[in-house]
Symmetry: C2
Subunit: 300 residues, 2 copies
């Protein structure tokens, strides 16, 4: 299971107590910070999200509302004496900025910051629990989406049944990997007799800031939850296109085409004080839609 907490859901200018973009995807083991608009470190404190569980930060692109909070977070982590490594996946240019900001302050971070420039589509994190890959989205400047996939878990062992078949405990791990057991007498105990399928790993796609682009659907086909921006309501589709953003019904269309289970919409323009209409319009196209609301955690 994964949980996604929204730290900021607004576009460009903070307004109506809506912060610029930042999200935290949490598993039982670790947390992934996705974009880091100004004020993200305050939002992490407000919503009691432990920084020590964040080992990877992903920055989609270098518009300020997606990264101006990063340097503050990085330096605060150091002031709090973090020692564990931190991995930053971001457009290449960001490395120079961070380096200058640290130099000007005569600051050395208390931990190792590993900078991983985003240069081509593909896997960027791969551990025994999850894979993260990046893919290009179409925006005014170079911009990346991120796809998180939990790995398939080992099959669930039915220990009582394994005992009945007198399978030695040393073989249990093989059972969990799906192997059959062969007794000393040569009898085959089919794996399904002693294990059951583990729940599937979940998937989450974050499409950052993007123009309406139907080809995106292939890259995120069938994910459990899709975050797609809806900067504008549907009547402003021309403005959306001119600014490389999307509308409600366009986000709904992508979700439908990609056959995702659930759609989360955000990155609302500061011209809108209320958000109800975003939900109504998107649901006309894709029913299982929710608004990304700050402080709310969406389970996947």
């Amino acid at each position: 299971m994964l949980g996604l907490t929204i730290l900021g859901n607004n576009s460009a200018i903070p307004a109506f107590d809506r912060n610029p973009t930042a999200q935290v995807l949490q598993s039982m083991d670790e947390s992934f910070l996705i974009d880091c608009g100004e004020g993200t470190q305050m939002q992490l404190s407000k919503y009691k999200i432990r920084r020590s569980k964040i080992n990877h930060i992903f920055i989609s692109h270098l518009h300020g509302d997606h990264y101006f909070g990063l340097i503050g977070l990085l330096t605060s982590m150091s002031l709090l004496n973090r020692t564990q490594d931190l991995h930053l996946h971001a457009p290449p240019e960001l490395e120079q900025l961070i380096s200058l900001q640290l130099d000007f302050a005569s600051t050395h971070l208390s931990y190792a910051l590993h900078f991983h420039p985003l240069v081509e589509e593909g896997s960027i994190v791969d551990n025994n629990k999850i894979t993260v890959s990046c893919f290009k989205v179409q925006h005014r400047i170079a911009c990346w989406g991120f796809l998180f996939r939990e790995k398939k878990k080992p099959r669930k062992l039915n220990a009582e049944r394994a005992k009945i078949y007198e399978i030695p405990a040393a073989f249990y791990e093989n059972l969990q990997q799906g192997e059959d057991y062969i007794t000393k007498k040569g009898t085959i105990v089919p794996n399904e007799e002693v294990t059951t399928e583990a729940p599937k790993g979940k998937s989450y796609a974050y499409c950052a800031d993007t123009i309406f682009d139907e080809s995106l659907a292939e890259k995120i086909m069938g994910v459990d939850m899709l975050y797609h921006e809806t900067t504008y309501l549907k009547d402003l589709h021309e403005r959306a296109a001119a600014r490389f953003h999307s509308t409600t019904v366009q986000a709904g269309a992508i979700a439908k085409k990609a056959g995702v289970k659930k759609l989360l919409i955000g990155h609302f323009s500061s011209k809108y004080e209320t958000l109800d209409e975003f939900l109504t319009e998107t649901k006309e196209v894709f029913e299982n839609t929710e608004l990304a609301i700050q402080g709310c955690c969406y389970l996947i």
Copy 2:
């Protein structure tokens, strides 16, 4: 009269809903933003301070808690289609950072940003209402304090008395500048007969982040209000010195030596949840002290 509104009063790491340093000094005509920690643009919205009246921004030094909110404010002003010029007075290195951040976002500001590097002590703003000068303070990296002085206002005319002396209206401006009037018959009407002294221009000194440095007193002698940091309570004077910061009683000593009218203290370490003790300790040395509290406006 001047009014100083506190937007952030904490040091280094935001904590207990206390933001990093930022203040706005307001006169009837314009506003001056002093330092700009992360979240300053949200604080300006929260406390209903009009950005359009800010024509000058002053950055004391390049520790992040004093400037990480600047780039967000500058770009938001542009997104809000500001057209009037903006003057930024800051350490020279900041120009490169801003320029890179705008380049990476392919952003052109909607207004002219004039960068004035702080290189030597002296006057940096001088208009018909106010002068601002900068002075060096001792911190871990190059750091500047700012001294604001309202100009002396014209004398107040007593129009009824001027009529009794049959002084022509064309001479009223000369009266306000302190001149005597000489009648056609050669009689002198002393200026004091028809005008009264205008209230004195007020002064405010912002000492940024500084180690305890008694020589500072000369630079801010007799100001109406002094802001001096108190990062730590008095028992931590060794830590304060090691980090080029000050304690409560040290700030009080500077205020006393400089003979200021009022002392405002801030830049509280995030190790302290409550602030009462800061006030108690400082008042032991300098009675007319107040805590810098976010959202409060201190009249000068």
